[in-house]
Every structure is written in structure tokens, then in C-alpha cells.
């Protein structure tokens, strides 16, 4: 029920992300969501793609450091206050949130949030119990 996130270590210099997105596009891999966290030294590019296995293989072959992590994807109604609602559930359940990023679906009026927490199962249970829809790899493919 988790979705896979691809993390790439990138140098903090101009144009460093381009070769990565190039490799993905050349191989018909679609990016569903992405976030970059950067420090003075380096950047960490996090991607949700439609084919994690192929993307990991291609980028590793190209010499990139890759890490695949399970993250929680949750569907959020496209209305003010919906994200807060989800975050409150995590907080009430003492689930520590490392980071999050959001993306919109192309067709539906829904936003999706990628959550990185210490305990995925706990987060999923808490959110499902409160009526949130957790997305799967299969969902990612269709988005």
C-alpha cells in the first residue's frame, strides 16, 4: 500500500538536475511529483515516477547515488483546511513528520501529499481511520 520514492543525490551547482530529468524523459518515464531539498553543499531530489524500478536502474547506471524509500501518499480534497486536517491526525497520533510535498492530479479535483514519516503503517492506519484515501503504486500509474 506504500508508494516508492526515488531520492537522488545532486551536486549543488547550476543545471545539475537537467541530466536526471533528461534520462527519465528519454526513457519515457513520467515524473508525478518532485521536491528538492538543498543545503549549501548538495541537493536532494525526491521523485515519484511511474516506473521506479526502471528509473532506479537507469540513474544508477548513469553514476547517481539513488535511494528508494517507502513513503505515504494521501489523497486530499482540493479545499482549504484539508491538509491541516491530515496533519493534525499525524500530530495527534504522535507521528513524526520528516518532510512532505504535494502535487495535483491532472484529471480529478484532488491534491496528493507525499508524507515521509518514521512509521508508515502507523500513519496509514491513522489516516485511513479518519477517512483519508491512501494511494498505491497502481494509483500513481493512473494519475
Amino acid at each position: 500500500m506504500s508508494i516508492k520514492q526515488l531520492t537522488v543525490f545532486v551536486e549543488n551547482k547550476q543545471g545539475a538536475v537537467i541530466p536526471i530529468t533528461d534520462i527519465l524523459s528519454e526513457n519515457n518515464i513520467n515524473i508525478r511529483a518532485l521536491s528538492i531539498a538543498e543545503t549549501q553543499d548538495f541537493g536532494i531530489l525526491r521523485l515519484i515516477v511511474n516506473d521506479v524500478v526502471a528509473a532506479e536502474k537507469l540513474l544508477t547506471e548513469a553514476g547517481y547515488l539513488i535511494k528508494v524509500t517507502d513513503v505515504v501518499g494521501v489523497k486530499i480534497g482540493d479545499a482549504p483546511g484539508k491538509l491541516t486536517e491530515a496533519l493534525k491526525i499525524l500530530s495527534e497520533n504522535k507521528i513524526n513528520l520528516e518532510y512532505l510535498y504535494a502535487f495535483m492530479a491532472r484529471t480529478e479535483r484532488h491534491a496528493y501529499v507525499v508524507l515521509r514519516v518514521e512509521d508508515n503503517d502507523l500513519a496509514k492506519r491513522a489516516l485511513t481511520t479518519s477517512g483519508f484515501h491512501i494511494i498505491t503504486e497502481a494509483d500513481v500509474d493512473k494519475l
Binding site: 531520492t7 543525490f9 547515488l65 535511494k67
Partner: protein, 435 residues
């Protein structure tokens, strides 16, 4: 300009008299070492040299060399020539076992070392009327203790400040009207900048002279320090292996450092063949301790590239002069006055689970050394969490600080991003242009 000397008779001795003095001392010293240091006795026996073969200083070349590797093999007591109960002090370089040098001193050794430092202070114009601010680090490092002792011998009012806490340094300097400052040149420059920032002009600063050493510095840096502090800046040379600062010191001429050759005999050798080179040749500097008791190194290879000169000096001293070292025969770096070997960085990386893919970048910004270490991230360590990676950088920096005694800035970088030339990674980028 009238000249003052701390030990005039020695400092202005004729070349012949000096040679006689050195010869008397070396004959005694070789006997002392041969009888009390089995490690060196073995080296002499292997070379087929007996103490009787050394009849004077001209026979010195017959003796075997000592190197850093010998110090490592003999650590900690193997080169000690006196019972520990006769020793009163140790000093040490930073670094772990193997790289660390621990030197022992009897009271006699401390005395002669302090005499050497006193000569340096007097050559810089110091008298008992001066207030001498010692801002070298105190402790295992030889800088603080050496100049502190020298300052006492001259009779200066000594301010044992140690390094750091610049605001306090400035307060004491002003309140107690310090006239001589002893510290590393980069710290002197830093104090100078701080004074300037606080609105002091050179004429407001009571200092007249500075004795700066323990790290390489340029003529340009000297001029900068002299200008901001309104002083004359003198160089001083030494190493823990021989005792500490004061092995050689600069006089008013500021054209090289007079070697205290009644205690430390200097040779220049070809680093490849070990052959002694004639005066004026560039080569590796080798020191022989002529009368130290506890830790008397004979023909110790410093790895510093240098030139000796006996040209007449306007200060009246006849002591041989050494140029500022022009480089190293090994890969040692001196960063903020601390000796750093790239292999130490490598040791830390392996211990912490990283590949030995790294690059040391040293620069000098506003007269202060910057010290950065780039380390390639590994697949095993890589994570999607920024906080974890920052914590890894911090942990590595801490481990390096423990090993080296100084704090580097560690940057984790992408695999294979460290520059390689002909397939080999470039380990050191020194942008300081010190030579």
C-alpha cells in the same frame, strides 16, 4: 641601530670558536645517545659508526639520520635518553599515535630552550621593560610554553594569554600596554583586523614588535601585519622534535632566521641521496640537538626545504641563517599552525565507514586559514533526509577534529565528483600561495 643580545658571547662568536664549541658538544652528545638510546645505538651499529669515530662536528655526516618514521617506531619512550625521573616536562604535537610526537625535557633542556626564545625576544628589541603578551596556545603545544619561558628569562612582564578570546586579548593589550605580541602570524593578523574594526589606529596600539611563527607566512602577510599593528614583525622557527620555537629566530635585518647553532646544528642535505650539500644549496633541513639531555635527536630530517647562509649580518650575529622554509619533501600541510597529513584524513574516513575519496581544500581568507574536506557520499550512507546528511557531515568533522586538533568544514559530495588527474584523485588543493 644599537644591537642588544641575550647571550652576546654565543650570538656573536667567531665561526672557528663556534665550531670548537659544537665539536666539544657533539662528541659528548653522541656518547650520551649511544649509551642511553638503544634504538639509535642500533642505527649506528648498523652503519658501523662508533662514538669514537665522531671527533668533531665535521664527522657529523657519518651518523645515521632519524626521521618521523623512527619517532613512530620508537614511540613513546624509545628515543628517551634520560630516566623519566630526571624529566620535568613533555610537549606534544597533535595527531594520533604514530603521527604524534611526544618530546621529553629535563630542567636543563627547558632552560636552554627558554634561552633560545629569550634570544629571539631580545633580537626583536625586547628588554625587561617590555610587556610581552603570549597569545600562542598554552598546553601540549610548544608555542605558549616556549615564548612564555623566554619572556621570563628576558624579564619582561609576561601576559600568559594563550590563544583565542580576541576581545580579552585586546583589553589586556590596551590596559596593560603590551609592547610585544607572540602568536601565530594568522592570529596576529586577526587581532590586527579586530583592532581596526574597533576603530583603533596603528598609533593607538602600544605594541612595537611581534614574534610570529608555527606556520608558514609570506612577506606580504608580514607587511600587512606590520601596517595594521604598527610594529615590526619577526619570524621564529622551531619544531617539537627539537624543542619548540626558538630553534631559529629573526633579527632586525629580517632576511632569514639565525639558527641557535650552539644548541641545534643545521645541515642541508639532498633529500634523495642524504648527501650533505654545501652552504647556499637548497635541500632538506636536518637538525642535530647538540646538548639536549632527554630527547636528543641526532640528524633529524625535518622535511622542510630550506637554504642556509653565513653571509655577514648587519645585526652583528654570526649564527648561521636559514631562509623561510620553501616547501616540504612530504605531503604535510600546516593549517592554522597545526601539522596535518592527508593520511590522517584517510584514517578517519575508513574508520567512519567512508571510501577514502576525499579532497582537502585549504585557503587563506582575511589572513586566516580555511580548511575544508570534501568527501564522496557512499551508497550505504545515502539517505533521503537532509538532517541525516548534515549530521553525518558534523560527525565526520568531529572525528577529524579529534584526530587533528583543528576543526575542518566537511562537505559530502556526489560520487566521482572529486577532481581526478590521470586517474588519481587530487588530494590536496592549497590555494594559499605561501611559497
Amino acid at each position: 641601530m644599537s644591537q642588544n643580545y641575550y647571550q652576546k658571547e654565543i650570538e656573536t662568536m667567531s665561526k672557528e670558536e663556534m665550531k670548537k664549541l659544537q665539536s666539544e658538544k657533539i662528541v659528548k652528545q653522541v656518547k650520551h645517545v649511544y649509551e642511553n638510546v638503544p634504538y639509535y645505538k642500533n642505527l649506528m651499529d648498523e652503519k658501523g659508526v662508533k662514538p669514537e669515530d665522531i671527533k668533531g662536528i665535521d664527522d657529523l655526516h657519518k651518523l645515521p639520520f632519524l626521521s618521523k618514521a623512527d619517532l613512530r617506531d620508537a614511540y613513546p619512550y624509545g628515543l628517551l635518553a634520560k630516566p623519566l625521573e630526571d624529566c620535568v616536562r613533555i610537549h606534544s604535537t597533535s595527531g594520533t599515535t604514530g603521527r604524534r610526537v611526544v618530546a621529553f625535557y629535563t630542567q636543563h633542556d627547558v632552560d636552554l630552550w627558554e634561552d633560545c626564545c629569550a634570544r629571539a625576544i631580545v633580537a626583536a628589541g625586547g628588554t625587561k621593560k617590555d610587556v610581552c603578551q603570549v597569545a600562542y596556545g598554552y598546553g601540549l603545544f610548544t608555542g605558549g610554553a616556549g615564548l612564555h619561558g623566554g619572556s621570563h628569562k628576558v624579564g619582561c612582564l609576561t601576559l600568559p594569554m594563550s590563544s583565542g578570546n580576541t576581545d580579552r586579548q585586546i583589553q589586556f593589550m590596551e590596559d596593560l600596554q603590551a609592547t610585544i605580541l607572540c602568536c601565530t602570524p594568522s592570529y596576529a593578523a586577526y587581532i590586527g583586523e579586530s583592532l581596526k574594526e574597533q576603530g583603533y589606529k596603528p598609533e593607538d596600539i602600544p605594541l612595537k614588535a611581534g614574534i610570529f611563527g608555527a606556520e608558514p607566512w609570506t612577506e606580504e602577510m608580514r607587511r600587512g601585519i606590520e601596517e595594521t599593528l604598527g610594529i615590526k614583525a619577526y619570524d621564529i622557527y622551531g619544531l617539537t622534535e627539537t624543542s619548540g620555537p626558538g630553534v631559529a629566530f629573526e633579527c632586525s635585518e629580517q632576511t632569514g632566521m639565525h639558527v641557535n647553532e650552539d644548541h641545534f646544528y643545521a645541515e642541508i642535505i639532498d633529500p634523495d641521496t642524504g648527501e650533505v650539500l654545501p652552504e647556499g644549496s637548497k635541500g632538506e633541513l636536518v637538525f642535530t640537538s647538540l646538548d639536549k639531555e632527554a630527547f636528543p635527536l641526532l640528524r633529524y630530517r625535518t622535511r622542510d626545504i630550506c637554504v642556509l647562509s653565513r653571509e655577514k649580518c648587519s645585526c652583528g650575529r654570526t649564527l648561521v641563517k636559514m631562509a623561510k622554509p620553501m616547501g616540504r619533501t612530504d605531503d604535510m600541510l600546516i593549517i592554522r599552525g597545526v601539522n596535518v597529513f592527508p593520511s590522517q584524513i584517510e584514517t578517519v574516513l575508513l574508520k567512519e565507514g567512508y571510501e577514502p575519496n576525499y579532497q582537502i581544500v585549504v585557503d587563506r581568507v582575511n589572513n586566516n586559514d580555511t580548511f575544508e574536506v570534501n568527501v564522496e557520499m557512499t551508497p550505504e550512507k545515502f539517505t533521503d533526509k537532509v538532517s541525516d546528511i548534515l549530521a553525518m557531515e558534523k560527525a565526520l568533522a568531529n572525528a577529524m577534529k579529534i584526530m587533528l586538533g583543528i576543526n575542518p568544514q566537511v562537505h559530502l559530495v556526489a560520487p566521482k565528483s572529486i577532481a581526478r588527474s590521470e586517474g588519481k584523485a587530487v588530494r590536496v588543493v592549497d590555494k594559499r600561495k605561501l611559497i
